[in-house]
């Protein structure tokens, strides 16, 4: 249990540094620190599938972020928005935090999942009958590709569409057209 608190301390310190530091590159590197902390946390929470995926996705995301920001630290932007807007935003964020913390007291204690107490829940069916019904020993694979394969179909569509959007935004032809209009 103490390992969770230590990892959370690490991640919170990294998050505060990532938010408050002046240089963009340092901020991006702190995001990498948070991602590896989250990956370790997944490993200790008995979710090895997600730990593998998180640690690899983190590396590729860091490459994308660094590639986009490394040459662009020319205009040095610091400080926040206007004073009044900042005060209002901070007050709203604080109110959300104070209201939300009370909601977490109604949840069951950490370490006692909800699905174990309700009889006939979906997760119990997946665990007890997943191996006989699909032949896959990894229950997470059985869930994402057999029981809930519609989710995966939608996920593939979203990934395809977002990559298509990024490619269209960055290709040469549209850039040339816009550049001429801008100059």
């Amino acid at each position: 249990m103490t390992i969770f608190y230590i990892l959370f301390l690490f991640m919170l310190v990294a998050a505060i540094i990532a938010v408050e530091t002046k240089k963009l590159l340092g901020s991006v590197i702190c995001i990498g620190a948070i991602g590896f902390g989250v990956s370790l946390m997944f490993l200790f929470l008995r979710a090895p599938d997600i730990a593998i995926t998180q640690i690899v996705v983190e590396i590729l995301g860091l490459i994308i972020l660094i590639r986009a920001t490394i040459a662009r630290d020319l205009t040095f932007i610091s400080g926040d928005r206007e004073f009044f807007g900042v005060v209002v935003s901070v007050v709203i964020v604080l109110v959300i935090f104070l209201a939300g913390v009370h909601i977490f007291e109604t949840l069951p204690e950490f370490g006692t999942p909800i699905f174990a107490e309700t009889t006939g829940s979906a997760s119990q069916t997946y665990i007890s009958e997943g191996f006989q019904k699909t032949g896959a020993a990894n229950i997470v694979s059985a869930v994402i590709l057999d029981f809930r394969a519609y989710d995966t179909l939608g996920e593939t569509t979203i990934l395809f569409t977002s990559i298509l959007g990024a490619t269209v935004l960055l290709r040469k032809k549209s850039r040339k057209l816009l550049g001429e209009v801008d100059a």
Partner: protein, 115 residues
């Protein structure tokens, strides 16, 4: 207590998204919020002393049902992580295009976006 720490991380990301005026900082706030939500969903299914939801040979099935962690949030978060990488690429490409057009990451300097 651990849930509250998770929510504190979400709040830090929300603060960064709302207050900062650098465009990349806003993206970083969104990424921090994604991590916090993924972590919270996985923590909901954790069982103290549980095992990973993988059937090993020689397992007694009734024992496995009583000791496994929840596989359902893990399956949902697995898709969410990969989608977040795709959306990160899309957001970053929009930021890069905006930088090329306006010459800055500062959202208060982008005049034509100001309403």
């Amino acid at each position: 207590m651990l849930y509250a720490l998770c929510f504190l991380m979400f709040t830090i990301g929300l603060y960064c998204t709302v207050v900062k005026k650098n465009m990349v900082k806003i993206v970083i706030g969104i990424v921090i919020m994604e991590y916090a939500v993924n972590l919270f969903l996985i923590m909901l299914g954790y069982r103290i002393g549980g095992v990973a939801p993988i059937v090993v040979e020689g397992h007694v099935l009734g024992n496995f049902v009583d000791s496994s962690v929840d596989p359902l949030p893990q399956a949902l978060v697995l898709t969410a992580i990969v989608i977040s990488l795709g959306s990160l690429a899309l957001i970053i490409s929009i930021c890069v295009r905006t930088y090329e057009k306006y010459g800055t990451f500062d959202i208060t300097q982008i005049r034509r976006l100001k309403g």
